[in-house]
Symmetry: none
Subunit: 250 residues, 2 copies
């Protein structure tokens, strides 16, 4: 009860300095997407509210005083830039993660994100959004009390998220982007069996239409690189999914 834990992951939750849950506001005019996002963020143990347009976003923000805002650039009433400015005048400390279409006018985004803010292009994977948000909050000084900082460790497997570097037993392991994200998801849930459906939902973009077969494929890629010639850390649970756990700890 002392170290707060997020509901979903086995890791200590990322909380505010006073121990209360991180507060996030999700702003998107697509209710389905907002629902998926807020579900995933609640799973992280965070307090989430949603808004469908710029006006209610500002209202909600005033009331909730969120630590971070996930903000679609294209809104029915205004654009994200105006909302950002209002938010910052109301609450200068808030971090903003923008959601934008890949081919959207990137130069405008470029200006917006110049500060501590960040953006993700649609379609994104939930892991990516969560990772970016965690990065933003960490950099804003939110992570303080519990930090392993930006480093994930399972046994002798270490992932440095900022440097995007993975080592096993001190040896460098080179991973492709998807492999990296898959491993990150596994490592953020050590000793927990993750179903292929869960993995697909989290690691692949929400509009991915493919089969669960890709997960198997990428697990096999990971094994070749991470477990190669060593005591395996990635295990199959037949009919259920996959787990990662330290070799000794069993």
């Amino acid at each position: 009860m002392n170290t707060p834990r997020s509901r979903g992951t086995g890791l200590p939750a990322l909380t505010r300095p006073d121990g209360t849950p991180v507060r996030v506001l999700v702003v998107d005019d697509d209710p389905d997407l907002a629902e998926v996002l807020s579900g995933a963020l609640r799973y992280e143990g965070w307090e989430v509210r949603t808004a469908g347009d710029g006006a209610s976003a500002v209202t909600e923000a005033r009331e909730l005083m969120p630590d971070a805002v996930v903000l679609d650039v294209m809104l029915p009433d205004t654009d994200g830039f105006a909302v950002l400015r209002t938010l910052h005048t109301v609450h200068p400390e808030v971090c903003v993660l923008f959601l934008t279409a890949r081919d959207a006018v990137e130069d405008r985004i470029a200006g917006i994100t110049a500060g501590g803010d960040d953006y993700v292009t649609k379609p994104f994977s939930l892991e990516e959004v969560i990772a970016r948000l965690r990065g933003l909050l960490r950099r804003a000084g939110m992570a303080r009390q519990l930090d392993e900082g930006p480093r994930l460790t399972v046994g002798d497997l270490v992932m440095d998220e900022e440097a995007r570097e993975v080592t096993r037993g001190g040896e460098l392991v080179e991973l492709s982007p998807t492999e990296f994200e898959l491993l990150r998801f596994l490592m953020r849930n050590p000793r927990r069996v993750l179903s292929k459906a869960q993995i697909l939902d989290r690691v692949w973009s929400y509009d991915f239409g493919g089969q669960a077969h890709v997960v198997e494929l990428y697990i096999s890629y990971l094994r070749k690189k991470v477990d190669a010639g060593r005591e395996p850390m990635i295990h199959t649970v037949r009919g259920a999914g996959y787990v990662i756990k330290p070799v000794t700890g069993r």
Copy 2:
């Protein structure tokens, strides 16, 4: 917790002698530009306020007692020089960084800035503004506890910001202005993967409309000069961006 760190970078933050964050006032009548600037400065771990005209600038300055002011020369009510004079009577210690159009009366600027202040011509890059501000504050005796002064080091790569000189393993490396600024940004964030979008935001002018392709190009220029025939320090992380790190450091 002893050495204060800036929010964004892993570097020690530049703070006031008493350890509190540097305080900066941004004065520009373009709210978008003011927003981008203050975002970037907050990212450095500084305390920022903004003002849109000369009158509120003076009011804000009286209240905040900033260490530095970023001041647009063209303001709706007065010009920057009048503001400067008022500021100096209120608060003689303050440093001023002027923002000015390229073809503005440069001799007037030159006269004013003789007194230790500095100026940057629009359109500027955020890295440039930040570097100038750091320089001003350092020269005003703000740098105190930390570091290295005007020298950045990553492995055997050394950058002297004031002399605008770069050496690798003692050998001089000659760089064009853009190359220099790109390398500075990389070296201020060692071991951290920087996306092309991030790099564009920071190193190129805020009005640059071009593509991320230029970043690749300039990275290749840098490699030819910095890594030429040596163990490479600049690494590509496919799908993520670029990192600089010392060769030995793994």
